[in-house]
């Protein structure tokens, strides 16, 4: 019965952690990052002895404007033997931006490990539409998760939405993730010390349905006071990530909404923090701790955790060295051509943006918007006398940059300015 009750707990948060938030910031350069963490970790949940272990966690992440691939796995050394701990592999692919919107698909495989008796695997996939600007974005998504060897009878339908913004060195994210799935519940299930009531009696199993290992559970439940319970729960989560050359800090907090058969009181709120302080360019001291909510579809209870250790990080592709998509490279072409006496026609091809502005000595450094002439065509006629002129361009109200295709100079204000030579 205990086994059944544990498997009948509701909701999940890992999908939200894996599929929302972290991906939201648009990648501006290709980057390969490898990390190896070594240190002590401890975790505990109600009804179990706290597990303390030495953890070795290698991981990598490759990100480009079109895709992100990452994997991470923990090896735990507890009772003098190695054990596979939390592990995850994720793959995301993105379409090019079109009018600021891109489509994203994500697939994840993950394993969560609390202790020898509480562990679980899951596959999930999600599609999203993401509207992005340079410093903010909003996304909506929908997907499905397939937990293995647990009490969720059906797949888990996941709907998510969220916003993100950058404020200085910090990235703020907020997400709402809704989970809908069917699980097996019991009339005598105690939720927060009071009995829950089944609304729909469970019929005897008629065929092979549900995830692997579920048929036996359904058969066992059919002889008791069991029912199929349709669970819905919603997670509201906020994350702040702050990156500085000396360290990284991630704060996460959330609130879960749902009826009491799906959400235990110990999973209504959660909060955690992770910090890394760089000792050298490649070695950092890391520490973290907090509370994670229960993951009902995976049969995992809420737990507290803490860790401290050292991280070795290495970037085989140096950060920022491979330019893939910067504001300048969004500009597919930029041309200046004579258009009559003392007039020049500026044309640019820039797809997926809302506004393009230029300024220069010929506009007295007042920003002037270009006029959209097609899906990615922008144009403006400007009076420009023959000679040397300086020009800047900006996209969607972002930074002023030197337009590509013309020589540039430092502007004296921590930026660059393009130099045009207009022939008579």
């Amino acid at each position: 019965m205990l086994h059944s009750r544990r498997h009948a707990t509701a909701a999940i948060a890992t999908i939200a952690m894996l599929t929302t938030g972290e991906h939201a910031v648009a990648q501006s350069t290709s980057e390969l990052e490898t990390r190896l963490e070594a240190g002590a970790t401890t975790s505990s949940h109600v009804g179990s002895i706290p597990l303390s272990a030495f953890a070795l966690t290698p991981g990598f992440r490759y990100a480009s404007p079109r895709m992100t691939a990452s994997a991470r796995a923990s090896a735990l050394l507890g009772l003098s033997q190695w054990q596979l701990g939390n592990s995850a592999a994720a793959l995301e692919a993105y379409t090019p931006l079109l009018y600021g919107v891109r489509a994203e698909v994500a697939a994840n495989a993950s394993r969560l490990f609390h202790d020898q008796s509480v562990q679980n695997d899951q596959l999930d996939a999600e599609g999203r539409l993401h509207f992005m600007r340079q410093r903010a974005g909003i996304w909506l998504g929908s997907g499905v998760a397939r937990p293995l060897r647990v009490a969720a009878v059906s797949n888990v339908n996941v709907s998510s939405g969220g916003v993100w913004t950058r404020v200085g060195a910090a990235t703020l994210r907020g997400s709402v993730t809704s989970f809908f799935f069917t699980k097996i519940a019991f009339d005598d299930t105690l939720v927060d010390n009071s009995p829950a009531v089944c609304s729909t009696r469970l019929a005897a199993p008629t065929g092979a349905s549900g995830p692997t290992g579920m048929r036996a559970l359904v058969a066992e439940a059919a002889v008791g006071n069991a029912c199929r319970h349709q669970s819905r729960l919603t997670d509201l989560e906020g994350t702040v990530r702050w990156e500085h050359k000396l360290g990284e800090l991630t704060l996460r907090g959330g609130q879960r909404f749902g009826d009491r058969l799906d959400v235990n009181s110990d999973s209504r709120h959660w909060a955690s923090a992770q910090a890394a302080v760089w000792i050298t360019n490649q070695i950092a001291a890391v520490a973290g701790g907090g509370r994670e909510p229960a993951q009902p579809t995976r049969g995992l209870p809420a737990r507290s955790f803490g860790s401290v250790g050292l991280m070795l990080a290495y970037w085989p592709i140096p950060r920022g060295n491979v330019l893939v998509e910067t504001p300048a490279s969004l500009v597919h072409s930029f041309e200046v051509r004579a258009a009559g006496t003392a007039l020049q026609r500026l044309t640019a091809r820039i797809g997926g943006v809302e506004t393009v502005e230029i300024m220069g000595d010929f506009t007295d450094w007042s920003p002037v918007p270009l006029i959209r002439r097609g899906r990615d065509a922008w144009e403006l006629l400007v009076p420009m006398s023959p000679g040397v002129h300086q020009i800047n361009i900006r996209i969607d109200g972002g930074q002023w940059i030197a337009p590509p295709g013309v020589p540039s100079l430092k502007d004296g204000f921590n930026g660059e300015v393009g130099v045009l030579v207009v022939n008579p």
């Binding site: 491979v322 010929f362 006629l381 300086q390 004296g412």
Partner: protein, 226 residues
């Protein structure tokens, strides 16, 4: 409302909208009605006006200084940084004038000031002037400044541009060189190596010759936006 009235309203609306649409297609003319430096605080403005006066006394154009100040205002730089940037332009123009001599055009002065600001010396400028043969130095200097900004070692850039200039490279040659080097740098080639490789592709054209009289560039007016 009758169909006739609706049509009248539509016509009136289109007549009102037409100048707006035509205006949107029209060229951009800067509005100089309001003193643009009025956005500066008093002490910053005073320092900048002193630099304007110094430029006038030295016979230098003041519009590059004014332009730099306006650029700083729009880019929301603080007053001290704007004054520093304008002062750098003034000094560079003054040094450029002494290196290029009184016969230099305003465009050449501006381009030379840019080259000085990235580390080219007055001696190197003077060396280019000696072999100019009445040809405009503007484009080679613009390319030289850009190459140094992109990471080509100063000496390599200066030496290579000087050699090409002596070999009679044209503005088109310099433009082609710049495009090639830019492409190579983006592809990951070392900037210095990229420049040397691309420079080898430019054929020798003999010593620089003066452009035909019809192509001579007029002296630039004080105000770039008359």
């Amino acid at each position: 409302m009758s169909a006739l009235s609706l049509r009248r309203v539509a016509w009136s609306a289109s007549l009102v909208a037409l100048p707006v649409v035509v205006g949107a297609q029209d060229s951009v003319v800067p509005n100089r009605g309001i003193d643009p430096l009025s956005r500066l605080n008093e002490s910053t403005r005073y320092s900048i006006e002193l630099l304007f006066d110094s430029a006038k006394v030295a016979g230098l154009p003041t519009w590059p200084l004014e332009s730099k100040a306006l650029e700083g205002i729009t880019k929301r730089a603080d007053g001290r940084r704007i004054v520093a940037a304008v002062r750098l332009v003034f000094r560079s123009l003054r040094e450029a004038r002494s290196a290029l001599g009184p016969g230099a055009t305003n465009d050449e002065l501006t381009a030379a000031a840019g080259a000085l600001s990235v580390g080219i010396t007055t001696d190197e400028l003077a060396r280019l002037v000696k072999s100019r043969h009445e040809k405009q130095l503007t484009y080679p200097l613009v390319v030289l400044s850009d190459l140094i900004t992109r990471g080509v070692p100063r000496d390599t850039a200066s030496q290579t541009i000087f050699q090409l200039w002596q070999r009679g490279a044209s503005d088109d040659d310099f433009q082609g060189l710049w495009r090639g080097v830019e492409r190579d740098i983006v592809s990951g080639t070392d900037p210095g190596v990229a420049l040397l490789n691309r420079a080898r592709e430019i054929p020798s054209r003999g010593p620089p010759t003066a452009p035909p009289a019809s192509g001579a560039r007029p002296e630039r007016s004080e105000n770039p936006n008359p």
